[in-house]
Amino acid sequence: MSNLNKKLIIAFFSVFILGIIGLFTIDQATQSRINNLPLITEIPAFQLENFDGKSFTEENLDNQITVASFIFTQCEGACPIMSTNMGLLQKRFAESDELQFISITTDPDYDSADVLKEFSNKYSNKNNWFFLRGSIDNVVELSQDGFFLSASLLPLGHSTRLILIDKERNIRKYYEGTVDANIVELQNDIVTLIKQG
């Protein structure tokens, strides 16, 4: 019987140790989520135009968490999936006024303000998603030097990544815009940033 008592004490002690390991692991996991969103770079100054004619500059990124993408309306491959995913996130975070979306066209010749407006009606269901156009040179420069995303052979050669930008214009992370697991990741990271304030 004392043998059993000894075993019991060992068992309780083991459970206690497991509890500490569990607590430590959970804490590490929570911390790692914040650490995994490093400040990559600050978005440089730019000037583009929304489909409603209003100008959109780097200042519009202030105090908003922004999800950005490069697309063009005639694109049949990745863009519809990327835009559907952004629409999904827009819907899920509809209650938040701290989040906005921008999609920059890589085909400004075809994508007039009207075309972009029509495209917007298809995917966006709130007025916090801006569909932006500018001169092709501006867009290439912004993609390559601002977002560090390749932009050769436009419009087709645009990046399929979504970019998460924090409230201080800093790029925090890139996500493959067509991969479900990455969209889940992006959603979790948005929650982390919102909780950080």
């Binding site: 497991l18 569990g22 607590l23 959970i26 995994n36 938040s96 493959e176 697991a181 990455n182």
Partner: protein, 308 residues
């Protein structure tokens, strides 16, 4: 000697499986399930990368989080270890106990279950943690520890035949233990149902607080509490029936079950009032898995006589 060997091997497999359920629960509560986006390897490597440069070019490094990767990898490694321990159990069973149906079948069944659950783990990852599949992954693990607990107690009884020889059987008690086990399983299914729904609601509404999430649940969360208290009364009955039993292990398991049910109710209420602290969730799940195995052991202890 051979029986002793089988018993020890079964005990090691059972303890490792319980540890595995703990680590698996840790993966779920810490949200590390996608720590390794591929399977069976982790970012294309058998040992997870320790920095971003080690990730092969064909895998997108976006999701790389070293902490989450190693938590998930811990679950997989322990799973492999459990697999090996059950293979050892099967070698012993095939070698010495082919004619001992209870031991032989439980060994084979545990091997099938552990392999199936490993494969299901791969599907869980490729489904980007579909909450239903995650819960099914746990249910299979519970079945595994049930079978292993059965192997433990049956081999223990073969070693200590004289201990169980004079144990008086009690049909009502045996039946109430069967009922108890079934209700525990239903209770766990309800619990995983609550968890699954919480996760589904949370995916669609990422901004809801945990309190709001609980409120958004269907009314069957009340069934979980109701059944919990029903189990409490049943465990008091079982405890009363067993407290004067001549076998110390039987008496002890009766106390254990009652104590564990009380702890579980306490943890469950804590989760409601303190908005689901993760460590509480972990022990709530793990404690329920202990009950599943313990009842099987207890049942097979006291139903010894009747089978003769």
């Amino acid at each position: 000697m051979k029986k002793q060997l089988f018993f020890q091997s079964a005990v090691v497999s059972t303890i490792l499986s319980y540890l595995l359920i703990f680590v698996g629960g840790l993966v779920r509560v810490s949200g590390s399930g996608m720590g390794c986006p591929d399977w069976p390897r982790c970012f294309g490597r058998w040992i997870p990368p320790t920095n971003v440069e080690q990730i092969p070019s064909y895998i997108d490094p976006t999701a790389f989080n070293i902490v989450l990767a190693w938590i998930e990898y811990g679950n997989r490694s322990l799973g492999v270890l459990v697999g090996f321990s059950i293979i050892v159990l099967n070698i012993i069973a095939i070698y010495y106990f082919r004619k001992e149906a209870k031991l032989f079948i439980s060994a084979i069944l545990s091997l099938i279950l552990v392999l199936a659950n490993g494969a299901l783990g791969a599907i869980v990852v490729s489904s980007v943690l579909n909450p239903f599949l995650v819960s099914l992954h746990m249910i299979l693990a519970l079945m595994l520890v049930s079978v292993l607990s059965y192997a433990c107690i049956e081999s223990y009884k073969l070693i200590h035949v004289e201990k169980f020889k004079n144990l008086e059987g009690n049909k009502t008690l045996s039946n109430s233990l069967i009922l108890f086990w079934i209700l525990i399983f239903v209770e766990i299914l309800l619990g995983t149902g609550i968890r699954t729904n919480l996760e589904l609601v949370s995916i669609e509404n990422p901004l809801l607080s945990k309190g709001e999430l609980l409120n958004a649940l269907d009314s069957y969360k009340y069934f979980h509490s109701f059944l919990g208290f029903t189990l409490l009364f049943l465990s008091i009955y079982i405890y009363a029936k067993l407290k004067n039993n001549s076998l110390y292990i039987v008496k002890f398991l009766g106390i254990f079950i009652l104590g564990m049910i009380i702890v579980q109710i306490f943890l469950g209420e804590m989760m409601v009032f303190f908005e689901l602290p993760q460590l509480t969730r972990l022990f709530h799940t793990w404690g329920s898995s202990w009950l599943v195995g313990v009842i099987i052991i207890l049942y097979n202890c006291i139903s010894n006589e009747q089978s003769k």
